[in-house]
């Protein structure tokens, strides 16, 4: 809510906290009223908007900010800031004491998640960036306090600026736990990950009433900006969870995958899954008929530690799979074409989804493992008019630019430009492997023969298959480093990651690159 404006007064808040004691010291004898007042204010702050508002929040199926923090952070680890801050708005009756609450609107501070430092709420972004620890925003606000007028707009912009300055420095996560409308939506949009709570959270620029008055469209909040819309249609949100508790517990788990900042390596957890575990079923997972689909998630689950895969955007652009997992305890980012959906082809949405994920991993030192089974870019006017050229270029750009360890496994098709894009050797891939079922070629045999021979009857298709529909042409030219037995993939990747942990690579100096946005 409007308390976003408070960030400009972080220093003020600290003063506010120090003041009573200071004053007490100055006067030479502590007036008994001050400690009492501190206690009272603290108690009042802990109640937030008061019992009435707590109950109202519960009735809506939501938790209060303090309850949320209790679940998100390790027990007794929360150090709260700005507990004594109150809003300064005095118009429209906002100055009456019953509309003033200590710790107004926002609960901020720092705490620990599984022992590791995290900052909660964006007011602390300055310190988070200085210290180098992630920022987690738990958003549940109706938008600007209209009564505050332009002051709240300035508050937003301050937040936005900090989001941008922190971007790529510390991971920023937004968890949308209630309505988030108007300008406020741009803060989550600027952060690295936006998660939503199903049925109780909404994100939109303008709500259904305004939509109705402007475009005469009838739409519900849920349809316009609910979790389903943003995770499956717009791609604004990266995951949705059942309820507040589910979301916060998942956020704790998600946090464990992330390094604290761009200065830290990808975290390594204690791992019980042997790094040399063979995965025999992979030897037969790719169907013999190249037109038949299989589930890339089966491959991912069987290779990563303990089958644990935290998928990002599982319902959006499902022809590409991205998410976090661990290999021998170390966080890795996984990108894979999904043959089960649209044959795993690259299109506008999947390119953008992949590119953003790759860039996050690169910014935060998370090695990238790419599983390739891509028949090419999706053809058609819809894609061309939509700008598949510039959107597809994003994924190409992201992979080429990334300097983290890059390991690529071609499981089946790697056709055409899409082959180049998918973390190919040519884009500074560190270890590029092909399974025996791999086909690295300009295109599929049928199409190639049709073009080469202009539809004339020919049995060149078999020849083409013989020549190109196998991993040898690529291996002979060094475009893949090895043809590996699929069952050994986990072992190979774990060994490579150990070696590549000390990889350093730099690109020419620049202010920043100009990714084709």
């Amino acid at each position: 809510m409007a308390a976003l404006r408070l960030l400009r007064r972080v220093a003020g808040a600290v003063r506010g906290r120090a003041a009573p004691g200071g004053r007490g010291a100055a006067s030479g004898g502590r007036p008994p009223a001050v400690p009492q007042r501190i206690e009272e204010k603290r108690r009042a702050a802990l109640l937030g908007g008061g019992m009435g508002r707590i109950e109202a929040q519960h009735k809506r199926g939501k938790l209060t900010a303090r309850e949320r923090i209790l679940l998100l952070l390790d027990p007794d680890s929360f150090d709260e800031y700005d507990m004594f801050v109150e809003h300064r708005c005095s118009d429209f009756g906002m100055d009456s004491s019953k509309n003033k609450y200590p710790g107004d609107s926002v609960v901020t501070g720092r705490g620990r998640i599984n022992g590791r430092l995290a900052y909660v709420f964006s007011q602390v972004m300055d310190q988070a960036a200085l210290v180098g620890a992630p920022v987690i925003g738990l958003n549940d606000s109706g938008g600007a306090r209209i009564q505050e007028g332009v002051e709240s707009l300035a508050g937003y912009a301050d937040i936005f600026l900090r989001n941008v300055l922190c971007s790529g420095v510390v991971p920023q996560i937004s968890l949308i736990m209630g309505p988030c409308a108007g300008g406020a939506v741009y803060s989550p949009a600027l952060t690295d990950f936006t998660f939503m709570v199903k049925d109780t959270s909404y994100l939109f620029i303008t709500g259904p009433d305004v939509v109705k008055s402007v475009t005469n469209e009838d739409v519900t909040q849920e349809q316009l900006g609910g979790a389903k819309t943003h995770t499956a249609v717009s791609g604004v949100a990266h995951r949705a969870f059942e309820n507040d508790i589910d979301a916060l517990l998942n956020l704790r788990e998600f946090f464990n995958y992330l390094p604290l900042s761009n200065r830290d390596p990808a975290p390594v957890c204690e791992c019980h899954d042997p790094s040399d575990r063979l995965v025999p079923e992979l030897d037969t997972i790719v169907p013999t008929e190249s037109t038949k689909a299989y589930d890339m998630l089966d491959i991912i689950h069987s290779i990563v530690d303990e089958r644990e895969f935290f998928e990002i955007m599982p319902s959006y652009a499902r022809n590409i799979v991205v998410g976090f997992a661990r290999m021998n305890g170390r966080t890795v980012g996984i990108v894979g074409n999904q043959p089960k959906v649209a044959s795993g082809c690259l299109d506008i949405n999947s390119s953008v989804k992949g590119a953003r994920f790759v860039r996050f991993c690169d910014a935060f030192n998370i090695p990238l493992i790419t599983f390739v089974d891509v028949p090419g870019f999706l053809p058609g006017t819809a894609q061309e008019y939509g700008g598949i050229i510039r959107h597809g270029a994003k994924l190409l750009f992201a992979f080429a630019e990334a300097t983290v360890p890059k390991i690529t496994v071609i499981t089946r098709k790697a056709y055409g430009g899409a082959y180049d894009v998918m973390s190919s050797k040519h884009l500074r891939g560190d270890a590029n492997y092909a399974w025996p079922t791999a086909e690295v070629a300009v295109m599929g045999a049928k199409g190639a023969v049709q073009i080469i021979f202009r539809g004339k009857e020919t049995d060149a298709e078999a020849e083409y298959v013989e020549k190109f529909a196998n991993p040898f042409p690529a291996a002979m030219r060094g475009f893949v480093d090895d043809i590996i037995q699929p069952s050994t993939t986990r072992t190979r990747i774990c060994r490579d990651l150990d070696v590549l942990a000390s990889k350093t690579q730099s690109s020419p100096w620049k202010k920043h690159a100009n990714i084709p946005l």
Binding site: D74, G115, V131, E253, D264, V268, C271, E281, D283, E306
Partner: protein, 720 residues
């Protein structure tokens, strides 16, 4: 020392050594084989004479575990093997095990494993000298046997005459009668229509049993208690008969109430010798399909056994039977036994006989087919210890004791580390259980010097069996083998419906077991929490070490919410549940599919099947999968504020309970249906299942049509 005792000690020596050998072989294969062929312990002591001339090459006209089973013996006998397979089975285990493999067609069995033309072609091409048909498919198809004979290829089984005589339920009964074998009263013949079926049924007197004449086993068998059910049974059975066997003749006979199903294994050669290899008790059945088998039977006394054995041999001799065969009897509570049918093939449950007799039945079948006389005399056939077989199926036992489930075996590990366990399977980790074939995963056989030992090992084997990715029936199997009635031997073919009149619902936890489960789940949760705080390497910002040593948790299990307090005590946990303290120790390897946990001195092997960040976990404990939610006390208290999500109204929608094909849809949008009315028929694994309306109402939408393939949970029909 008698010959019998000598044999016994010999058997144990051989069995012991073999177990050792197969273990080291297994390890060796895991290390060096590309395909990880599994070797399970052989629990028979057959000897293989390398000097005895046999076939050079044999084709196995089957798939799955039985194909693998036959190939194993062929390998021991030095016979080269040819596998056939459908296109979807190209990577199947039997294909990898065989020396050669040829695709005989697409997935549907009628186009592949039943495709005689293609199979004959393969036989010619590969120059196989003999064909082992396994069970099912073409194993009792006289036309196939005839075509093989015409090509001069040996059929590993009886000759066409015996197949024909025994394959026809009517003719077989006449033959049995003539051979002085006890037969079931009220037996009758071919049925033309539903009215005739009713007339025949009334003549015999209800209850009657209706099934396809040509079909083996219990498949397609329906029991009718009145005219209406007779008509329905007639309709289903004739359809199934037509679709499965291309022969719509039916059989209606008196249904013996409360019987046991006990069968005698016979083995006969082409020189007029025939032996009975004791009985198998197969009374535990669901929908007339066997689930648990054992040998010997607790019910038979030596006289009854001999009488049944001698009648079985008399029947075999009457049809000049050669090869292995099974004479099935129904045995009533007074030990009267009635001939049911003779199966002219190797039975699914043959391993239990192999375990107690020490014979390799496949080897004997091949020897007999090659023309050798039997090596054994009746007096050589022992009953040596006790063997139990559980059929492990990919099916949901909570739905009428087992409706097929499909999927990919994401994790699969057979309990071969448990002593005296034999697993006959034809699948491996990564295999698909598809709608096209029988959903059997494996046959799990345990052996013991007595029944109690065999059952104890079965319990352990079931607990140590890792099957992930498909729903399986381990819970049902485990409940059956520990049920007091089963343990007493007080069983009949009605066992399941009698013991579980409201359907199978999984293991019922005792208070103590529930505490054990809660304590284990809570300890696992804490172990996981503690691990997630352990980061390796140096940290730029030091990690705040938690000094926490006790956790107040709230565990949701079934309808109950239990406060549980866990405190860490070295590597073990002290857990307080219901005011009782339990000590839980384990190595807490959170990646291992099997977890051995000791709770107050009781060792349990549990499997944590899943967990997620929200505290939900499912744990397989005592065979049954329990869903739990573990939350901290704080989270549990706050969860009361979480909104209830509206559940789907299941009475107005009809979803497919299993994957399969839609055979018929009997309603269209706008139709009125009454509760219990048939809406559509789904065929899965050769079974036709009638889907009925859960309430009376108007059909809003129909989402399927005849011929569609549907998955489990797919929406079929919506009511208003």
């Amino acid at each position: 020392m008698s010959v019998y005792e000598l044999f016994l000690s010999f058997w144990h020596t051989v069995a012991g050594e073999e177990m050792f050998n197969s273990l080291s072989l297994l390890q060796c294969e895991t290390l060096c084989s590309r395909w990880y062929l599994k070797t399970s312990h052989r629990l028979y002591s057959a000897t293989y004479d390398p000097n005895e001339k046999t076939f050079e090459k044999l084709l196995i006209a089957n798939r799955g575990e039985i194909a693998c089973r036959v190939i194993k013996t062929c390998k021991k006998m030095g016979i080269k093997t040819v596998a056939i397979h459908s296109d979807v089975d190209a990577n199947a285990v039997h294909v990898k095990m065989a020396d050669e493999a040829v695709c005989v067609g697409p997935a549907p069995t009628s186009k592949s494993y039943l495709n005689m033309d293609a199979i004959m072609e393969v036989i010619k091409k590969t120059r196989a000298q003999a064909v082992h048909p396994g069970y099912g498919f073409l194993s009792e198809n006289k036309e196939f046997a005839r075509r093989l004979a015409a090509e001069g290829v040996t059929f590993i089984g009886p000759d066409t005459h015996a197949i024909q005589a025994m394959g026809d339920k009517i003719e077989s009964k006449l033959l049995a009668k003539n051979a002085k074998v006890n037969t079931i009263p009220g037996f009758d013949g071919v049925v033309k229509d539903a009215d005739e079926a009713v007339r025949i049924a009334r003549e015999i007197g209800y209850p009657v049993m209706i099934k396809a004449s040509a079909g083996g086993g219990g498949k397609g068998m329906r029991i009718a208690w009145d005219d209406e059910e007779t008509r329905e049974g007639f309709r289903f059975s004739s359809q199934e008969a037509a679709s499965s066997f291309g022969d719509d003749r039916l059989l209606i006979e008196k249904f013996i109430d409360n019987p046991r199903h006990i069968e005698i294994q016979v083995l006969a050669d082409k020189h007029g010798n025939a032996l009975w290899l004791n009985e198998r008790e197969c009374s535990i059945q669901r929908r007339n399909q066997k689930v648990v088998e054992e040998a010997p039977s607790t019910f038979l006394d030596p006289e009854t056994r001999r009488a049944m054995g001698e009648q079985a041999v008399a029947l075999a001799k009457a049809v000049k039977y050669s090869s292995a065969g099974t004479v099935e009897f129904l045995v009533d509570s007074s030990k009267n036994f009635y001939f049911l049918e003779m199966n002219t093939r190797l039975q699914v449950e043959h391993p239990v006989t192999e375990c107690i007799t020490g014979l390799d039945l496949v080897q004997e079948m091949i020897r007999v087919a090659k023309g050798y006389p039997l090596r054994h005399k009746q007096a050589d056939i022992p009953i040596n210890g006790w063997a139990v077989e559980c059929r492990v199926y990919a099916e949901d036992p909570y739905k009428s004791f087992g409706l097929p489930s499909i999927g990919k075996l994401s994790q699969y590990q057979e309990p071969l580390h448990v002593p005296s366990v034999r697993v006959d399977s034809g699948i491996q980790q990564g295999s698909d259980i598809s709608i096209y074939y029988d959903p059997m995963i494996s046959k799990l056989i345990t052996y013991g010097s007595n029944r109690a030992e065999a059952l104890k090992r079965m319990e352990e084997a079931l607990d140590n069996y890792v099957i992930r990715g498909v729903t399986h029936n381990i819970s049902l199997l485990r409940e059956v083998i520990i049920h007091p009635r089963f343990v007493r031997g007080d069983i009949s073919t009605k066992f399941l419906p009698e013991v579980y009149p409201d359907g199978f619902k999984g293991h019922k936890l005792t208070d103590l077991e529930r505490r054990e489960l809660l304590a284990t789940a809570a300890s696992l949760y804490v172990a996981e929490q503690l691990r997630s705080q352990r980061f390796l390497g140096t940290q730029r910002i030091p990690i705040a070490k938690s000094k926490r040593s006790s956790w107040e948790l709230s565990v949701h299990l079934g309808d109950g919410i239990y406060p549980v307090e866990v405190s860490k005590d070295g590597s073990s946990f002290s857990v307080e549940v219901d005011g009782m303290k339990l000590n839980v120790t384990s190595d807490w390897n959170l990646a291992s599919p099997l977890l051995s946990v000791t709770i107050d001195g009781t060792q349990r092997t549990i499997q944590r099947l899943s967990r997620n960040a929200s505290g939900n976990t499912s744990i397989q404990f005592l065979g049954t999968v329990y869903k739990l939610q573990i939350l901290t006390k704080v989270a549990a208290e706050l969860s009361k504020y979480m909104p209830e999500k509206a559940a789907e109204d299941t009475s107005s929608i009809l979803r497919s309970p299993m994957p399969g094909a839609v055979v018929a849809v009997s309603v269209k949008p706008g139709d009125m249906v009454s509760e219990g009315q048939e809406i559509c028929v789904i065929e899965a694994m050769k079974m036709q299942n009638s889907m009925i309306a859960a309430k009376t109402g108007k059909v809003k939408a129909v989402h399927c049509k005849a011929g569609d393939t549907v998955g489990e949970g797919d929406l079929l029909v919506e009511l208003e």
